[in-house]
Each structure stands twice: as structure tokens, then as C-alpha cells.
């Protein structure tokens, strides 16, 4: 490829920040002492090693709480967002069993929520999976209609991991309040990227994770409201009674310290970072939409600033990525590698045909993305799309004016 003409271009380019982010060096620096000289168990009350570790966890808890405008006692550290999702859903289901057994969620949630809901159904729970509109947002009227006397929890994500669409959180929490139902949100993609305020947003429980905001992998948190109302969850991990009995297990002190530092950096830099990334994202999107038959998936107004999901009709996503995956890392809604051959369920939930879902790429920009990298990406993707369309029988048919729906395809 003849693109390497930029002075500041660092290859390979990482545009899969929705999957995970690199650790900020400042985060790593904060963590390091807690592996070696400050290695104590935060639960060791009888000596200085334990006190130092406990102090570090307390400080990190403040840093985390501050980012989302919570109280320190409302933060339960977990191994990540998946565990926090499990604890919120199963914990509420168990704790509020006498009140009801019905949970409302939506079809575009992360698997950590959907599969936990499936598990709850096996335990006798009832779950409503709300559809989403073509832009990926839920219909608030549908949500309210779904509430019954048995409803104990509404679980709707903050920002979607594939298309970046941000749900109307305040409207959802208002509906939950009105009906006396708890509101849980998986905010893994949103916290640290856009302002998330559990008070103003009316959130009762919230899952989030360090490694999506330039912190380490293996640590996350569940926010559990303590006042108005006081929310309780039944522990899903029994043992030494850590985290006020809600999550037993030795504290991951270096991870928690890193999580705290990552939250502090996000709190201070998020606003400027979001502004910078949305400019880059818009540039990327504008550049790529110069191609014919390229479409943005999901609502573009209510969207995380660093995310874009684009379908390039008549080329297949995985084949497309192969054209540049030596130099650009991103992900596709196509699932040609999986045995099922099923494309993204999120894109299908928007009503996209399988063909468009197979043709999609997900871009997740991040703290270390540069404008040179975006310029390079636009060029490389355009070149590959054009090359693959020359090779695509579907593109040829489209250009000849043949309606692809009129063809009887041999489904296998």
C-alpha cells in the first residue's frame, strides 16, 4: 500500500477500543508498587502491609465513586463488568423474589446480560426482551407497557458496544421510578467516555469495567444505590465477606489501584478527549461515506463520541478486514469465523438484513488514536472496498440493475 507518507503514523493502528483499551502508562505506574513492596492483603487488619493495601483500595474507591458521582460505600469491586452484570441481575432476582420475578431488558444488550437473563429464566424468572427501533434506541412507550405487577428490574445498557448508541437513560429511570421498579444499566462502554452521573441519571445499579477506560483487565465494579431507594443484592460469590458481604474474594489491590487511577484520569480528561475523538470519528465517517453504498448503523445523534459502525454493501466484512488487518485492527459484524455463520445479533436487531450485517465494520477510537492514523485508515479501507467490489458478483449485479432479492439463492 502506498500510504506510508505521514511522519507521525504509527502502525499497526488500533481501532478496536470497544473490545479493550491499552493501559494508560500513568495507570501502570500507579499499580506497580502494589505488586512488589506493597503486596499486602487489604483484609489483613493486624499489620502494616494490610493497612497500606486497605488504604490504597479506599483511595481507589473514592476515585471510582467520584467519576460517577456515587458514595464510596456504593462501589462493589468485581472482576469486571461481566461479573457485575451477573451480580446485579442474579442478585436482584434473588433478593427481591418476594416482590416479583419479572425483568425487562432489550435485544441489543451485551451477552453478559442476555445470557444471565436466560439463566434466570431457567430459575423461574420471566424476562421481556424489548426490541429496538431501526436506530438502535428502545421505545419508551413499549418499555412502560411491558411493566407488570411482577416487574422487579429494568436492565437497559447505557451505550452499545457495537454501534455506540446511547439509550435515553434519564427517561428510562424516570419510568422505573414511577412504577417502583429498580433500574440497572450496563455502562461498560459509557463510563469514562461520556458524563455518567448516577444521581442525575437516576441509576440504581450500574456495571462498568476498568479495561474499557485505559485501566487494567480483570477489575470492574457494580454500583449499588444506598439511598432513595436502598438497593440490596444477594451475593453470588460466598466466602470471606469482602465488599460488605456482597462479593467475597481477596481484593485485587493492584487492579483496583489501576482502576481508580484510570477513573481519575477520565474524570479530568474525558471532556477534551470526547471532543477530540468525535472530530476524528466524524472525519473517518465522512471519508468512508464518500464510497457508494456505505451506510452508518445506529442513531448518529445519541451516540458515544468515539464509535462508528458502517456497512459497506456488497463486500463481506471479514474479507474486507483481511485487506488491511496487518496495519489496522478493528472488528466486523460478520461472523464468518464462527461455526454458526450468524452475523451480529445487534445489527440484526436494528432490522438490518444479514447481507448488510455481514458487510459491517466497527470502529472504536481511543485516547491514543491520531489524526494521521485516521487519514491512513480512510485511505486503506476505501482502497480495499473498491478492490473487493471489483471482485464481488453482487456489486456487478447491483451495477447492472439486478435486484438481488429477485434471485433465488441457494441457502446452506
Amino acid at each position: 500500500m502506498g500510504f506510508i507518507e505521514f511522519m507521525d503514523l504509527k502502525l499497526p493502528i488500533y481501532l478496536d477500543n470497544n473490545a479493550t483499551t491499552p493501559c494508560d502508562p500513568r495507570v501502570v505506574e500507579a499499580m506497580l508498587p502494589y505488586f512488589t513492596e506493597k503486596f499486602g492483603n487489604a483484609a489483613s487488619r493486624s499489620h502494616a502491609f494490610g493497612w497500606v493495601a486497605e488504604e490504597a483500595v479506599d483511595y481507589a474507591r473514592e476515585q471510582v465513586a467520584k467519576l460517577i458521582n456515587a458514595e464510596t460505600k456504593e462501589i462493589i469491586f468485581t472482576s469486571g463488568a461481566t461479573e457485575a452484570d451477573n451480580l446485579a441481575l442474579k442478585g436482584v432476582f434473588e433478593m427481591y423474589a418476594s416482590k416479583g420475578n419479572h425483568i425487562i431488558t432489550c435485544t441489543t444488550e451485551h451477552k453478559a446480560v442476555l445470557d444471565t437473563c436466560k439463566h434466570i429464566e431457567k430459575l423461574g424468572g420471566e424476562v421481556t426482551y424489548l426490541p429496538v427501533k431501526a436506530d438502535g434506541l428502545i421505545d419508551l412507550a413499549e418499555l412502560e407497557k411491558a411493566i407488570t405487577a411482577k416487574t422487579i428490574l429494568i436492565a437497559i445498557m447505557y451505550g452499545n458496544n457495537e454501534i455506540g448508541v446511547v439509550q435515553p437513560i434519564r427517561e428510562i429511570s424516570a419510568i422505573a421510578r414511577k412504577h417502583g421498579v429498580l433500574f440497572f444499566t450496563d455502562a461498560t462502554q459509557a463510563v469514562g467516555k461520556i458524563p455518567v452521573d448516577v444521581q442525575a441519571d437516576g441509576i440504581d445499579l450500574m456495571a462498568f469495567s476498568a479495561h474499557k477506560m485505559y485501566g487494567p483487565k480483570g477489575v470492574g465494579a457494580l454500583y449499588v444505590r444506598r439511598k432513595n431507594p436502598r438497593v440490596k443484592v444477594t451475593a453470588q460469590m460466598d466466602g470471606g465477606g469482602h465488599e460488605r458481604g456482597m462479593r467475597s474474594g481477596t481484593m485485587n489491590v493492584p487492579g483496583i489501584v489501576g482502576f481508580g487511577k484510570a477513573c481519575e484520569i477520565c474524570r479530568k480528561e474525558m471532556e477534551a478527549e470526547a471532543a477530540r475523538l468525535s472530530i476524528l470519528r466524524d472525519k473517518l465517517e465522512k471519508g468512508l461515506l464518500e464510497l457508494e453504498e456505505a451506510y452508518v448503523n445506529g442513531n448518529t445523534e445519541h451516540r458515544l463520541p468515539h464509535v462508528a459502525n458502517i456497512s459497506f454493501k456488497y463486500v463481506e466484512g471479514e474479507g474486507l478486514m483481511m485487506g488491511f488487518n496487518k496495519n489496522i485492527a478493528l472488528s466486523s459484524g460478520s461472523a464468518c469465523t464462527s461455526a454458526s455463520l450468524e452475523p451480529s445479533y445487534v445489527l440484526k436487531a436494528l432490522g438490518l438484513g444479514d447481507d448488510l450485517a455481514h458487510s459491517s465494520l466497527r470502529f472504536g477510537l481511543g485516547r491514543f488514536t491520531t489524526e494521521e492514523q485516521i487519514d491512513y485508515t480512510i485511505g486503506a479501507i476505501k482502497e480495499t472496498v473498491l478492490k473487493l467490489r471489483e471482485m464481488s458478483p453482487l456489486w456487478e449485479m447491483f451495477k447492472e440493475g439486478i435486484d438481488l432479492n429477485s434471485i433465488e439463492w441457494a441457502h446452506h
Binding site: V315, G319, H358, E390, W409
Partner: protein, 138 residues
């Protein structure tokens, strides 16, 4: 998942991309797969009427790198073979040549189906009976 060097080579330098005139009597066209499945292959052969040898083969494929490589390889193998010889091409030959992993075997099956569909189209155009094809699992 890493691709084999041969798959990458076919992807970067595909052989015989293009379109033959499907109106010609000695051109057979096979179109297999479906957009919904993420793979569509169109494979065409042109048969020399005197010798019965496949003188040209072209493809266009919508799909992943392995699907593109499988069809590119198929066109290379088809050229110079008689139609009967072409029928003997087995998808596992493609798997072996391209070192396809198990999740990509369906790409080779699709290529074999495309070859057979093109041959059948040629046969029907030339007054020959359509061949019964065994169903392979995709």
C-alpha cells in the same frame, strides 16, 4: 485467526477475476451461496468445443479471504482440464492446498459446488443431462 500464506497470496493477487459472456453456448456459469450467509461465488468456465478442454475460467466472489482464495484456486485448476476431469475436483483438495482451518471448510465446499454448478449449466446449454450432485455439508 491467522490465514495461511497461500490464502493471503490468492487474496492479494487473485487469479482470473472477471466475467465471461454467459450468453455464449460454450460458457457455463455457476452462482452459489447467498448474501445472507456471507458468501456468494460466481464461477464461469469456457469450454473449447473441439477439444472439450476448459480454455478459460473466471470468478467473482463476495466473501471472506478463504472464500476468495478457494474460488481463485479453483479457476486456476480448471483451466486446461476436460469437463470430466474438472468434475473430479474435490473440496478437500482445496482445503489441503490452502491449509484451510475447520471453520473455513465451507468455503472449499462452496467452490466445489460452484464448479459443479458451472459444469451443469454448460451441460444443459449443450443438450446434456444435468448431473445429480451429492449434497455436501456446508
Amino acid at each position: 485467526m491467522a490465514y495461511s500464506e497461500k490464502v493471503i497470496d490468492h487474496y492479494q493477487h487473485p487469479k482470473n477475476v472477471g466475467t465471461l459472456d454467459k450468453a455464449k453456448k460454450n460458457v457455463g456459469t455457476g452462482l452459489v451461496g447467498a448474501p445472507e450467509c456471507g458468501d456468494v461465488m460466481r464461477l464461469q468456465i469456457e469450454v473449447d468445443e473441439e477439444s472439450g478442454i476448459i480454455s478459460d475460467a473466471k470468478f467473482k466472489t463476495f466473501g471472506c479471504g478463504s472464500a476468495i482464495a478457494s474460488s481463485s484456486l479453483a479457476t486456476e485448476w480448471l483451466k486446461g482440464k476436460t469437463v470430466d476431469q474438472a468434475l473430479a475436483i474435490d473440496n478437500m483438495d482445496i482445503v489441503e492446498e490452502l491449509n484451510l482451518p475447520p471453520v473455513k471448510i465451507h468455503c472449499s465446499v462452496l467452490a466445489e459446488d460452484a464448479i459443479k454448478a458451472a459444469i451443469n449449466d454448460y451441460r444443459v446449454k449443450n443438450g446434456l443431462a444435468e448431473l445429480e450432485l451429492e449434497e455436501k455439508k456446508h
